[in-house]
């Protein structure tokens, strides 16, 4: 099939960006979206032009490295699918595909479609852990955990840290991402000791990193490739309230 690509090109964080238009004449439905971009890049290199820079690594939907906005939607048209898992059979001959980077103040642009998501690490660093040193743990089965809690903690822990929630939020809030970690640890006995500091410090870090506040619009849940639920934001709110009152 033939498709037209309109891709955001920007040399670096300070440069002026604009859309570049590229005609792809020989795309097969079995190609992944990124294999289609690989093909474009090979042709650009042969024309002595700079290839389109985009972030990707596992190409299996698990590392969270990839992510672009495709025709206005973070990670493209399919629910529960990362950009790297999207295949060209989702498109048809003659389509125009607009590709842009995540846009959020907290994610400064590095080049073309690559943004800097270090702010996520900083939020995690503020409290997304249990303070346990290697060597100090009790037997793994010493504390039973109800299966339902473990399963829900696992749902939350499936967040891949891609940032689609931020990119799809009109406030550029990182609430869904942050809540996934707070909720995971709130559901487990190991997380209980530090729950107060965790909620307060991680929220403070989110504000410091220039993410916006949450106004419950729910766009994040729709675009999250791991289908992280808004239930976790509700739990985060309870944790925060509890910590602020105590």
């Amino acid at each position: 099939m033939k498709v037209t690509l309109k891709i955001w090109r920007q040399k670096d964080g300070n440069a002026q960006g604009s859309f570049g238009t590229y005609q792809m004449d020989d795309v097969s439905g079995d190609m992944s979206f990124f294999e289609m971009l690989d093909l474009l890049n090979e042709s650009l290199v042969m024309k002595n032009e700079e290839p389109v820079a985009f972030d990707h690594d596992c190409r299996e939907g698990i590392c969270g490295t990839c992510g672009v906005v495709i025709n206005g939607r973070a990670h493209g048209p399919l629910r529960g699918v990362t950009t790297c898992q999207l295949h060209m059979r989702s498109y048809k001959d003659g389509d125009t595909i607009v590709i842009e980077p995540w846009r959020a103040t907290a994610f400064p642009l590095i080049k073309d479609l690559i943004v800097d998501r270090r702010a996520f690490d900083n939020i995690m660093s503020a409290g997304g852990y249990v303070s346990i040193n290697a060597g100090g743990a009790q037997d793994a089965n010493a504390t039973p955990i109800p299966k339902a809690n473990a399963d829900e903690a696992m749902d939350a822990a499936s967040c891949i840290g891609c940032g689609a929630c931020v990119a799809s939020c009109k406030n550029s809030s990182a609430m869904l991402f942050l809540s996934a970690k707070v909720s995971q640890l709130a559901l487990l006995p190991q997380g209980k000791v530090e729950r107060k500091e965790r909620a307060l410090n991680m929220i403070a870090a989110m504000d410091e990193e220039n993410f916006g506040g949450c106004t419950n619009t729910g766009a994040c849940e729709v675009e999250c490739p791991k289908e992280i639920s808004l239930v976790h934001i509700a739990r985060l709110n309870r944790e925060y309230l509890r910590a602020s009152l105590a």
Binding site: D38, Q85, M124, G128, I132, Q138, D151, A153, M154
Partner: protein
């Protein structure tokens, strides 16, 4: 140089305890005077960096990723082994040790493997304490499953995302130490060289991938935890950026490279669909518990799977191995699939695939049962191939998945370069010629949480903390060398893209140094690869500039190393005149086409020393001594 593996004296089960006691310690008040560089922040690197920081050392951590959480450890699906024996089915440290040694086809060190089994239980304790949400039973206790044909249930898992959850656990410990300032993390930094001062590793050279700056970093010791080299084949299940550069540059600076030809080919991957394929995707091995593998009895049969009647199907694994059937080890299942396709029985458009069929189990247990057990894998398969595996059998084919070979290390995980340590998949130490399922995660974390924190102290205790800085002339030389390397790459300005050359290398490797190897093929590879290397250095094209973000330049530097490593792999495979584990030499097989080991002549580790210029590498042998297990040949009939 003679290789000293530094295996402690004494009975197997007391070696590690005794050794820990004998190792020198660094006084708690002095630890802050030492800085350690950790390159790579996957399971092994993140666990090492956080553990060392917890002990009081200063750590400089480096990754080419933007965040430690992106490392390829995250993609491991199946699980992590430990000898907890929670299910009361007869597991023990000795049994886990024994299975790992046997699975590795008797080409690993007893002492290392025993230690691995010994600390496996601590890993599970540690991960649970971090809040890793392992699967649980209704009573609230941890669930175990049997994995990869093991006869006990010792595998802990977190859905199909165990690697992800363990990595995020290690990452949480790491970011905690970043918060305290004990770990300084350098994202998007590619390590391009190690720096030696008076023979000791005292620093590294990196390229900042955002602005292209080449920089020097000094420390009292250097740890590499940079993963495996499966991407030498171009197509593998490894993530796109996985590379051998750190390990290879260390090799060129004096670290021996062990058993480079030991690569693992995983039998259940989604087959290649076209030339545009950029990587391969693994379908968890657990599928073989319920799926049946078959090909048509008639070569070149073009009918759809459902139109081929039962008696015209060859369930070849069940036919050849009546007792293990579809659950034979990875290397056996892979070779048989290739053989079937080579003989023309392959299926699908490319004919390079066999069927993995779930019709029987769906009939037996109902579709819902399969949805619950394998739903996410079936979805992934459908997403990639566009076919629905509930109604059409999956097509699978083997793909490169893991590399058992790696930088040679002694019992302390130290290389032949003083002060240089290598952990995780990047070293060679624990898996012999074939890694068992659910053992990679175990080894990465064992090295990082429980081995290096002890053994590095022994080295550091002999060094004055903070005695080397980047002002040492060795750093300037290394910077010049790296800048020259980059300039040389940029100035080729040829006509071929990096991927184009990499694909050609991958083809040479897959055809000649892949699943089945023979003398003629290996010699051909040894002839072709240097020619391709010349082609690369005279005809590669890298657009853009070196002093800015340049993804093609990143790839080019990695390919330059793959082109050298590939040749060494072929040499190693040629030298090893036997078949063992993942290394299958066609000349050495039984009448039933099974691998034939040669214990008399090859019970050793091949450790290769790099020689400057065009000279051939020199082989050193570390004899493997088995005092606790008897060498037998594997039989899965």
């Amino acid at each position: 140089m003679t290789l000293n593996s530094k295996i402690p004296e004494g009975p197997l089960s007391e070696k590690w305890t005794k050794h820990k006691f004998d190792l020198k310690l660094v006084n708690p008040a002095n630890k802050r005077k030492y800085t350690v560089i950790v390159v790579g922040t996957g399971l092994a690197g993140a666990s090492a960096a956080s553990s060392l920081a917890e002990m009081g050392y200063n750590v400089k951590a480096f990754s080419y990723h933007e965040s430690p959480r992106r490392a390829h450890s995250i993609a491991a699906q199946g699980g992590i082994n430990a000898a907890k024996n929670y299910p009361n089915d007869g597991d023990s440290i000795f049994r886990l040790f024994y299975d790992t040694i046997k699975g590795g086809d008797y080409r690993s060190r007893e002492a290392n493997v025993y230690r691995l089994a010994e600390v496996s239980n601590n890993i599970i304790d540690q991960c649970v304490a971090q809040g890793v949400p392992f699967a649980r039973e209704y009573g609230g206790l941890l669930d175990n499953r049997s994995f990869g044909g093991a006869q006990v249930s010792r595998t802990f898992y977190a859905r199909g995302q165990t690697g992800q959850q363990l990595l995020l656990g290690a990452y949480s410990s790491l970011v905690r130490q970043m918060n305290t300032g004990k770990v300084k993390f350098h994202p998007r930094h590619d390590m391009l060289d190690i720096v030696k001062v008076d023979g000791h590793a005292k620093g590294i050279i990196t390229r900042n991938l955002i602005n292209g700056k080449v920089e020097a970093h000094a420390a009292d010791a250097v740890i590499l935890a940079t993963g495996g080299y499966g991407n030498v084949f171009f197509l593998s299940t490894n993530a796109m950026a996985c590379n051998a550069t750190a390990a290879w540059r260390a090799h060129k600076k004096g670290a021996f490279f062990a058993n480079p030809s030991f690569t693992q080919i995983h039998p259940t991957c989604i087959p290649v669909s076209s030339d545009h394929q950029s990587k391969l995707t693994l379908m968890s091995e657990s599928l073989r518990n319920d799926g049946r593998i078959w090909v048509p009895k008639k070569a070149g049969d073009d009918r759809k799977a459902k139109d081929i009647p039962e008696d015209e199907r060859d369930y070849y694994l069940e036919r050849l191995y009546p007792s293990f059937g579809n659950l034979v080890p990875r290397d056996v299942a892979s070779r048989r699939a290739k053989e079937m396709c080579d003989k023309g029985f392959g299926v699908g458009a490319t004919k390079l695939a066999v069927y993995l069929d779930f019709e029987d189990v769906i009939e037996r247990n109902g579709k819902q049962w399969v949805v619950e057990k394998y739903g996410n894998l079936f979805d992934m398969y459908k997403q990639i191939t566009g076919e629905d595996p509930y109604t059409v059998p999956m097509r699978i084919y083997p793909a490169v998945h893991y590399t058992m070979g790696g930088v040679w290390v002694d019992y302390n995980l130290e290389t032949t370069v003083d002060g240089l340590f290598v952990l995780g998949e990047a070293n060679f130490s624990d898996h012999g010629a074939n890694r068992l399922g659910a053992s990679a995660l175990m080894q990465g974390l064992a090295d990082g949480y429980y081995v290096i924190p002890y053994t590095i102290g022994n080295y550091l205790a002999s060094q004055a903390g903070g005695s080397v800085s980047v002002d040492d002339p060795a750093f300037k030389d290394a910077l010049d060398e790296t800048n020259n390397f980059i300039n040389k790459l940029m100035s080729v300005k040829g006509d071929r893209t990096i991927d184009d050359i990499h694909k050609e290398l991958g083809k040479i490797m897959w055809e000649n140094v892949g699943m089945a190897r023979n003398e003629a093929g290996l010699k051909k590879a040894i002839d072709l690869i240097p020619k391709l290397k010349d082609e690369f250095w005279s005809n590669v094209r890298i657009p853009g500039k070196a002093n800015a973000m340049n993804t093609e330049l990143e790839k080019a530097a990695r390919l330059a190393d793959f082109l050298e490593l590939g040749e060494l792999m072929a040499r190693d495979a040629l030298h090893r005149e036997e078949s063992c584990g993942g290394h299958f030499r066609e000349e050495h097989q039984t009448e039933e086409n099974e691998a034939l080991r040669n214990d008399n002549d090859f019970t050793f580790v091949s450790a290769w020393a790099y020689q400057d210029g065009a000279q051939e590498p020199v082989l050193h042998k570390e004899d493997l001594i088995f005092e606790n297990v008897k060498l037998t040949s594997r039989s899965y009939k």
